[in-house]
Subunit: 121 residues, 2 copies
DNA sequence: TCCTTATTTCGCCATATAACGAAATATGAA
DNA sequence: TTCATATTTCGTTATATGGCGAAATAAGGA
């Protein structure tokens, strides 16, 4: 369902628990049980959240004995400037370019005719 | 369900159709029927998406006759730098500060004891 | 006023998602 | 090898979300 590359990052961060986890993992490398304590959720739930963050490329993990440690990924961190930054980035996707071209066509059409077309297929 | 202020922006942008709409609205002011054509969705569906973007403060609307025009809000656009920017911004929220304090306590505890506590309530 | 029509709201359905507990997995320690 | 335990996977459930069509709303034009 994620057509646009990178949008999974927004979805990953669009959950309170995951955002909180992602934030603390920027400051400290933590094992799952510590995050369980912080978020007050079942271990299985936390594990899944961390997997989603990992799939989005936001965090990475390493195993030491029975513990698995997570930390922010070494590559990927909201007001006005932030939104602009996000939008600009997404603006470089293929979907955005396609939309721009489609839009050019739409703009050359009379909105009146557009609505008419939408009424009568 | 949105405890953390600003996270609704991420959720709003975390949908392909809404992201595409938000992007084109940064370039052009458009009426609903034009966005309907671009996204190829039912007018009612588009209307709902636009309301979500509006609630998140990403777009604004004005009514001219029977048409409603939407455009990017005059205040609030992914690579590494973007994610860092997002994270830094969210890091200034109260929830993040609370988490930091909680974390300080957690870090002073033996993870072993933490896990033990989680086993036996 | 009455009709047409662009948009929104509402009700409904299908799917996605978050949460839990139980079972499976993996690994250190006895 | 056998036990204990940290984490993950799986199955289930409740809720959230995205989509549509029909009805409601609002505003220009006959």
């Amino acid at each position: 369902m994620s057509d646009i590359p990178g949008i999974d990052v927004l979805r990953a961060l669009g959950d309170d628990h995951r955002l909180r986890a992602a934030l603390v993992l920027r400051r400290h490398e933590l094992c799952v049980c510590q995050i369980v304590e912080l978020l007050q959720l079942a271990p299985s739930t936390v594990s899944k959240h961390l997997a989603i963050l990992k799939d989005a490329g936001l965090v990475e993990s390493r195993k030491r004995g029975r513990w698995v440690y997570y930390r922010a990924a070494r590559k990927a961190a909201l007001p006005t400037r932030v939104v602009n930054t996000i939008m600009t980035a997404f603006d470089e996707t293929e979907q955005s370019r396609m939309d721009s071209r489609t839009l050019d066509q739409l703009l050359s059409m009379d909105p009146e005719k557009l609505c008419e077309k939408q009424r009568c297929p």
